[in-house]
Amino acid sequence: MDKNNKYLQEEILRMSGVNPRKCMSCGKCSATCPAYDEMEYHPHQFVSMVKNGDIERLLNSQSLYRCLSCFACIDRCPRSVEPAKLVEAVRLIAIRKQGANHMTADDVPELLDEDIPQQAIVSAFRKYSK
Amino acid sequence: MQKITREQLIDKAVSLLSDGTVECVLGWEKGQFDYDITPAVFNDENELRENFVWNDFCGANFSKYLVSKTRKCNGKMLVFLKPCDTYSFNQLLTEHRFDREKVYAVGIPCEGMADIDKIKAACGDGIISIDASGDKLNVHTLYSDEPISVSAESVFAERCMNCKSKKHVAYDELLGEDGDVIESHRFDEVAEIEAMTPDERFAFWQNELSRCIRCNACRDACPACTCEKCVFDNPNSGVENKAAANSFEEKMFHIIRAFHVAGRCTDCGECSRVCPQHIPLHLLNRKFIKDINSFYGDYQAGAEVGTRAPLVDYTTDDLEPGEVFERGGDNA
């Protein structure tokens, strides 16, 4: 694991309070995820990628923004790993990277369509309005 | 001044004696002066009328006597219990130290007892007589022509100033009115000591405990110290000692004594009352009571019969010994 990934990993773990080592790779998070098909990396992969320090790849993936923050994975996870919190933390890392946002708040309205859940819109504005 | 009168108590005792309810009466016997009152057993009306007293100096806690006296007595014994005495009474019952069937307990209200040393400090030596009127005590001395008047409250014994309860928790019969448990400030002094630095605390206790002459009055008067044989009298216990040999022995004695009564001490204050050296021994016992309350929840020994004392009880999530200092407020 390179230095940057290591640093990012520590930051993510600290911010999220998640211990990915508790994951037993059952995949229930991915099984339950409503945005699964939108994602390049799925919730269980999120967990294992954070665990393995494969953060850069995660940061560069659009999957990050496909998570609806519905927290179904948190609710269902038998090991209390809480993948959504990891997603949240990785997003924060992206936000904190000055100018590294893949889009801004202004880009959001354009992307809106009727199928997007309300939760996702709120979530998007929360992320990009600052 | 006590609200209930000597005559009321004597009448009650006489009627219980004459109807055969009790065989004898454990009460207070008058002394040389108005203040040196001795616990005594009265067997008939004459003795009662002649020698029984009830005044502001009847502080002695009778509960402890029941352990030995009920063993000797065949029938029932009448005992007068002040509110604070009833706690000791219950605690002794919890520990099966006497036969409840052999006791007829009459609860009597108490307005607080006077500390003769405080009176002497206020009025000087040579006290010839003390009479009570209202909330004043009039003290006649050899050295003043007029009686010196002091308010009863100003000469209350320490335990009465910090009275924890005017409620009787045990009795067969109650004379006068029952009172309530009182929000007292009895832990303030403990908190003050806790607030000192360790060095100050050590100096404080070194000064107090070094005065100990190991007369054992505290132990022998204590209603919780009813051991058939005290470890400090038992040569096989490894801690036996007759006299204060050095400062360690004093600490050992007082720590272990306080520990042995921890969770059982009702805070009756007899230890401090009887100490000829005026060591504030109640502050050791109260420390344990305060700790128990804050670590394991409020507990008043003797409030009920049959409760489990905190030291013979536990919960699985009790605090760790290392945490006591955080909980007790870190003052060091």
Binding site: - | Y65, C215, N216, A217, K242
Partner: protein, 342 residues
Amino acid sequence: MRKCSLEKLDSVFAEIANSFKLYLPVDDKDGKAKYSEWAEGVKWSNALNTVRSPKDFFFPQTEDLMGFKCSGKNIEIIDTRNESEDFVVFGVRACDVKSFDILDRVFLKDPVDSYYSNRRDHGIIISVACTRPAETCFCHTFGIDPTEPAGDISVWKTDSEVFWQSNTEKGAALLEKLQALTEECDADAVNDQKEKVSAIMKKLPLAGLTADKFGAGKTKELFDAPEWDSLSEACLGCGTCTFICPTCQCYDIKDFNTGKGVVRFRCWDSCMYSEFTKMSAGQPRLTQKERFRQRFMHKLVYYPENNDGLFSCVGCGRCLAKCPISMNIVKVMKTIGGKENE
């Protein structure tokens, strides 16, 4: 007789303290007097008497007698004695001075207790006459005059002056050293005071108390008195009376294993304790009544029997003030001694 002004007293103390360790009654933070070593700034207590008696100076509560050390299977004896320092005790009341006589008859009788006798030899007692006896005082019962205290030097204190009179050679020698700070005087002021105090003594509640019913030869009469039962009824069996008593002289000798050796020490013991004089066959006095009786019979009958009628109580009144249950020798004397004592 010599005198000095009250203001000069500290200089006198300083002068004495130049040559001796000087102990005198000093108030502690609770206002209770106790014997403490004098040093600059230490004030003599106004209290009538100390809580503990001065017998500690000659017969301390605990005292190491000797030590021994085992190395391998050998025993080496170690001298631990330290009672060879000269000292002065100031402010001893008449009753307490008398108590030394009583202790002397025990410890200085053959075989002489050398620990006690050494301390006696090295100690100078400066007594002080009483001016304000308390209600608990009954020294007169035993023929003690509180206005005429014995000791190596007797002292009377008036409102403005302190009067000194030596009674022994030791006393005279010490007074000699105080020549510069004191002046020769007559005894008028002292006599005045004596008269006044004697008048007060007659008004004391215990003025009429006598020990006539007690003394040598009364054992048979008093031993089985029925009153012992009720008197001892409330006794807790603590050692307060014994340990504050100026004349109680019982002790126990014990070995303390320090791990590095053994210290043989003696400490006060009390006949009120259930373990007192316990032997392999058990205790001779099994009940508190017997132990209680022992204490008072000893003071009032056995001791006089062995010591020319001298009672082993000096009427200091400490036990009257300190007994947790207010049972004391006066109550015993009045109850056993019959009505005429009241």
